[in-house]
Subunit: 404 residues, 2 copies
């Protein structure tokens, strides 16, 4: 079992799924900006949404549709406009898009889920989008997963499309996924949209738990810039087309499926951080020996969100004092004299003070593109992993000129 | 009553205070790096320290000295080495410096307070510093306040030295101050050192409260990069040389003194943000209408600490969606439909959505160097002010190469 990245089929890889991507005129470049993911048969669905208090219109509409319908047929996504902070008119726009898509697919509007990404506060160009929907439904194909992933890109430099297969009780079950996200990335969702599809037969009641479990150490443990956006969501659709023999009736089957699902979420989450706005380094922070898993995550996040740590790594400067200082600024239980820090297996801190490694050697440990920071607090068994990227002048350039 | 910035006398402005600055060889440039502030007579003292869990050796030593002695004579400060995360040897170094200074001034070591700033994790070059101390005591003068402020600069581009005078019950009372700080600046102290001196007769028991009050809306409401360092402290010395007639026996006298003290703290805090590492804009965030003052401060900090807000302002892009998104990511009580946002008096958000101001006009509001962001949550009477600066490519350059 391994996850295939840069998958051409992606979300359309599992049986009975199709995707499409069309240009509705939202991106100035004229590139595809509207993606549609459809299950040929009604599918069970679950989703994780942003915790931001200004949830975008598509977030509110998708939440209502998940409550209103037991089955879902499609996810409609667009780049080029977040439809957030657009008030009642923005809500109406999202509803119109769902209604039109439902009419074209021959289902009820509540069976459509919707997501948007782009600048906050502007209305969507509704007429253009409604005009593009018939093309989007006409172009649906099992080969368009990658194209759909391309359509939802904003500042992303690469499309993010993956697939995997797994054997469950003698049956081959497929999982596909796509995501977008590069800036405004932070735990509990970011300017990050993701769709995961599977032909595994799943009940709606169990899907929410499975998805939450898969997101915990993946989508909810990454950060590019500490920003939690108004639009984040991860959608999961399961249409059961793999056949009824596959079922999560045994602990082994469940473990196998959760692992595959988590691997897909992990590959997608990793691809976001690796494509972090302006990033030159991919940083993996592992905290062990904390008083609890939650404390470990707090410490890991403090390090991963520190601008000074991120700039030091960018400058290949093994300035470990910034790592300790970032953790020390939290309320996590710390005994300085027990703290150990290694970067790419080079010891930098022992017993809370300099491990004696020459500066040059420490700095050399930061030469690779992948930076593993291992921190042991020496107190308990709590552990956590958090992934981020470095902070570069290029990030500033991208975000200083985003709207212009 | 007004605060005089760029004061030549600064901390040595009040009666009975002198300062000096010498080069001990900590800065590669050969510039002065050791500052001494002395009261000719025993002074009452108070201090605010970092809340970081890796407090530097000088922080621990100063805390012990404040407990051990009722009176204090001097503050010794150095740039070029933080003496943080240096373990027991670092503590001994700080104690040796205090002992030597005390011996030269003819007082007990506990009467000396000490502070350091610079790279974390390296031992101080103790022999050089001990050798420089006789020069530092010999050079003490009422004219060396600015020189002392210069000596404690790290990435600061300007020395920060102020003074003011105020009439209390017919007597002229003087207050002087100096500070350093440019990066690693965040509430509850930053890589920020400050010394405030006054010839006002004050009791040690009342000073702590006065200092805390003066810091709340000033040193504790600024941020450059969201980092709380291991070394921050604000020291205050009061030697009573203005004469015994000045006393805080009336509410009016107390209010006058607190206002003057706060003005000094405010001028120093503002000078730090204005000199923020790589900053091109000075951002003043005012939140009103929150459910409480604490919630207002949480919202103001979320906006001021947002990398996306800071880069947008740098790019003169009135992308107000990032302001709402940053507040929305907190747990502060918000009703989107009541939120108003103005930048430099240009309305950007009304009732949680676009105020209808053309983009060009919004962007033009960001042309000045000083950016006032006014946010009204429309819920209650809670208010707070928070000051920060923009995030620039230059900040990244400074911090990527800091140790090299």
């Amino acid at each position: 079992m391994s996850v295939h990245e840069k998958s051409k089929t992606g979300v359309a890889f599992p049986q009975g799924f199709r995707a499409s991507a069309v240009a509705a005129g939202l991106k100035k470049s004229g590139k595809a900006d509207l993606a549609l993911v459809v299950s040929d048969v009604p599918a069970a669905a679950a989703a994780m949404f942003t915790t931001n208090q200004f949830p975008a219109a598509p977030v509110l509409v998708s939440q209502a549709h998940l409550r209103a319908s037991r089955h879902h047929r499609a996810v409609l996504l667009n780049a080029g406009g977040a439809n957030a902070c657009t008030g009642e008119p923005g809500l109406q726009d999202a509803k119109s898009l769902c209604a039109q898509t439902a009419s074209l697919l021959g289902c009820s509007p509540a069976e459509i889920l919707i997501a948007s990404t782009g600048v906050i506060g502007q209305r969507l160009p509704l007429p253009k989008m409604l005009a593009a929907l018939p093309r989007a439904t006409k172009d649906l194909s099992p080969d368009k997963g990658l194209a759909a992933a391309q359509a939802i890109m904003t500042t992303d430099t690469k499309p993010k499309s993956v697939d995997t297969s797994v054997r469950i009780q003698g049956t081959t079950v497929k999982i596909g996924g796509m995501t977008k996200g590069s800036g405004m990335i932070h735990p509990n969702m970011a300017t990050m949209l993701a769709v995961i599809t599977t032909d595994m037969p799943l009940l709606k009641v169990e899907m929410k738990t499975l998805l939450r479990e898969a997101c915990r150490g993946t989508f909810n443990a990454i950060s590019v810039d500490g920003e939690t956006s108004t639009n984040d969501c991860v959608f999961m659709l399961a249409n059961g087309q793999a056949g009824t023999k596959a079922a999560l009736t045994t602990a082994g089957a469940k473990a196998t499926f959760v692992r595959a699902l988590t691997d897909v979420a992990d590959a997608l989450a990793r691809s976001i951080v690796e494509d972090g706005e302006g990033a030159s380094k991919y940083i993996n922070i592992c905290v062990t020996g904390a008083a609890s898993d939650i404390q470990a995550m707090t410490a890991a996040r403090a390090v991963g969100d520190s601008q000074l740590v991120k700039t030091a790594i960018h400058g290949q400067d093994a300035n470990w004092g910034r790592i300790l200082s970032a953790m020390g600024a939290t309320r996590v239980r710390i005994k300085p004299e027990r703290v150990r820090v290694d970067i790419n297996r080079v010891p930098l801190v022992r017993k809370g003070v300099d491990a004696g490694t020459p500066w040059d050697k420490g700095n050399k440990a930061l030469a690779p593109k992948i930076i593993n920071i291992e921190i042991d607090l020496g107190l308990g068994t709590g552990r956590a992993q958090y992934r981020t990227c470095d902070l570069t002048a290029h990030y500033v350039a991208i975000n200083a000129g985003y709207r212009n």
